[in-house]
C-alpha cells in the first residue's frame, strides 16, 4: 500500500465484534494487510510480522488502525444513554468499495425501489429539501431535516409514517443515522454503519444499533436490519465502477444527492481515497 492512502491508514476501523470473538481469534485484513484479532484479555490486534496495533473497544466492536490515529474514536453520546438497547447485528461481506457502502447508507431516494414496501413505496418517491453541511469544528458531514414517507420504518412500526432522519459521517467509513423513534417520540433511534475496508473493492459491513424498543425480540431486530442490508448489497455489487468516483463528471447528482456530494467533497478534501476513483487513474 502506498503513502497515497496515509490519511486513511491513520483512521480507526472495526475488525470484530468483541462479544463474538472466537477463542482462536479472528483472522481478517485491513486495507489489504492481514491482521489477527487475538482473544486475549485485553483483546489485541497484531499484524503478520508481529506488530501490535492500537486497539479501542467501543460500540460492541474492536477498533484498530494500521497507522497512528491523531484522534480518539468518534463519540456517539447516545450509546451511553440509559434505556437504550444496544444491538450487535453482525457482519455482511460486500464486494464493493467501502466508500460506496457508506454513500448508499446516506441515501434515501432508493428506499421505494430497493426496500420496497418497507422503507419506502411508490408513489411516495419525492425527496424534499434538506440541509447538508460539513461541520468545521467537529470535521464531520451532517445532513439534517431529512424527511421521508415510510410504510414500515422500523421493526416496531405498524403503519406508514413520515420519518425524520439525520445523517452523520464522523469517519471516512463510518456513518451514524438518527431516525424518528416510534416507541418514544422526541428521541432518536440510532443506527450505525461501521465499514471495515478489506480491500479497495471489498468490505465487511458491521451495522450496530442503539434503540428505544422494549418489545421486539433481538433476533427480529437483527433479521430486519440484515434483510435491509442484503437488499442494499444487491445494488452495491452491481455499480460500475466498483470504486467511488470522487471527481465530478462521472456520475450525475441531483438535489436529493446533496449528502453524497458533501461526503465525496469531504473525502477528497482529506485525501480519504482508499476505495475511490480519481480522474487521473
Amino acid at each position: 500500500m502506498t503513502v497515497r492512502h496515509q490519511p486513511m491508514i491513520d483512521e480507526w476501523y472495526p475488525v470484530a465484534l468483541a462479544s463474538q470473538l472466537p477463542p482462536g481469534g479472528r483472522a481478517t485484513q485491513l486495507m489489504g494487510t492481514p491482521v489477527l484479532v487475538v482473544a486475549d484479555d485485553p483483546i489485541r490486534v497484531v499484524t503478520d510480522d508481529g506488530r501490535d496495533l492500537p486497539v479501542t473497544l467501543r460500540y460492541g466492536h474492536v477498533w484498530t488502525s494500521l497507522g497512528q490515529p491523531a484522534k480518539q474514536l468518534f463519540d456517539i453520546p447516545e450509546a451511553d444513554q440509559p434505556g437504550r438497547r444496544l444491538i450487535e447485528v453482525g457482519v455482511v461481506r460486500v464486494r464493493c468499495s467501502p466508500l460506496r457502502a457508506v454513500e448508499n447508507f446516506l441515501d434515501i431516494a432508493h428506499f421505494p425501489f430497493v426496500h420496497t414496501d418497507i422503507l419506502g413505496a411508490e408513489p411516495h418517491t419525492e425527496v424534499g429539501k434538506y440541509d447538508v453541511e460539513i461541520r468545521e469544528k467537529e470535521d464531520e458531514v451532517w445532513a439534517t431535516k431529512v424527511q421521508f414517507y415510510q410504510p414500515q420504518a422500523a421493526k416496531s412500526a405498524t403503519g406508514g409514517i413520515t420519518t425524520d432522519y439525520m445523517y452523520r459521517v464522523p469517519a471516512p467509513t463510518s456513518s451514524v443515522l438518527y431516525k424518528t423513534c416510534p416507541a418514544r417520540p422526541g428521541e432518536w433511534d440510532v443506527i450505525t454503519l461501521f465499514v471495515q475496508p478489506l480491500q479497495e473493492d471489498l468490505c465487511d459491513v458491521w451495522p450496530w444499533m442503539a434503540l428505544f424498543d422494549d418489545e421486539t425480540a433481538t433476533t427480529d431486530l437483527i433479521h430486519f436490519q440484515q434483510m435491509i442490508f442484503l437488499q442494499d448489497r444487491s445494488i452495491l455489487e452491481n455499480q460500475i465502477p466498483r470504486l467511488l468516483p470522487l471527481d465530478p463528471g462521472r456520475e450525475i447528482p441531483t438535489r436529493a444527492d446533496l449528502t453524497s456530494v458533501a461526503y465525496r467533497r469531504w473525502l477528497k478534501r482529506h485525501q480519504f481515497t482508499y476505495g475511490a476513483q480519481l480522474v487521473a487513474q
Binding site: E122, N238, I240, E251, A256
Partner: protein, 209 residues
Amino acid sequence: MPVEMLRDWIPVALSADLPAATVLPAHTPSGILALWRSASGKLTALADRCPHRGMRLSYGFVRGEALSCIYHGWSYGQTGQCLRIPAHPELAPPGAIKAASYAVEERNGVIWIAFEPPEAPPPSLEGFQPVRSITVNMDAGAITPNGTVRTQLAGVDVLLIVAGIGDRETIAHVMVDAAASATDRIAVSNAVEGWRRTCEQLGLKELAS
C-alpha cells in the same frame, strides 16, 4: 451469409427470450448492454450503466415505454434520454442525462445489436427458425472463423450463429430448418448440449497440447 454482416451485427438473443416489458443483459465481445422491450414491443439497447450512480440498467424494470433503473428509479426512453427522476417528480430531466444507445434489430426471431450503425440490415436467415441459445466455454474463433457453423444434430440440419462474449466464452444461437417439426426441435435442443461438451473437450485438448 457475407462475413462482414456478422462482424457488424452481433447476435445477442432470441426474440422469444425477451417478452414485452422485460430487460436482459446482452453479452457482446465489448461488454454487456441492457437490452429491453417496451410494453408495445419496441426494442432498445442501452449502455449497462445508469448515468446517475452507475447501477447496471440490466437489473432494472420496464414500465410502459421506458426502462427504469432499480436503484433510484430514474427512467429512460428509446434514445437513452432520461425521462423521469422519481425523487423530483416535478423536474424535467436535463437533456445531458442520457444513457448511450445502440442500433438494435430483430429479424426472423433473432435480435442483433451493433455499436456503429451498419449500412445493411442483419442477415435474414430465411428458411430457418430459432430453437434456443447456449453458452460455450470456449473462444468463438476456436469454434468457427466466420461466425456460423453448419452441422447436423440428431439427424437434423442446423445453423449455429456464434458470437464471442468474453475470454473463453461464446454464445451460440441454434437455428433449424423452418419446416422442422416440434419433435425435431426438441431433439436438436437436447443434442446441442452434446455439441457444447464436444467443443469444450476439444478446446481443453488444444489448451493442453
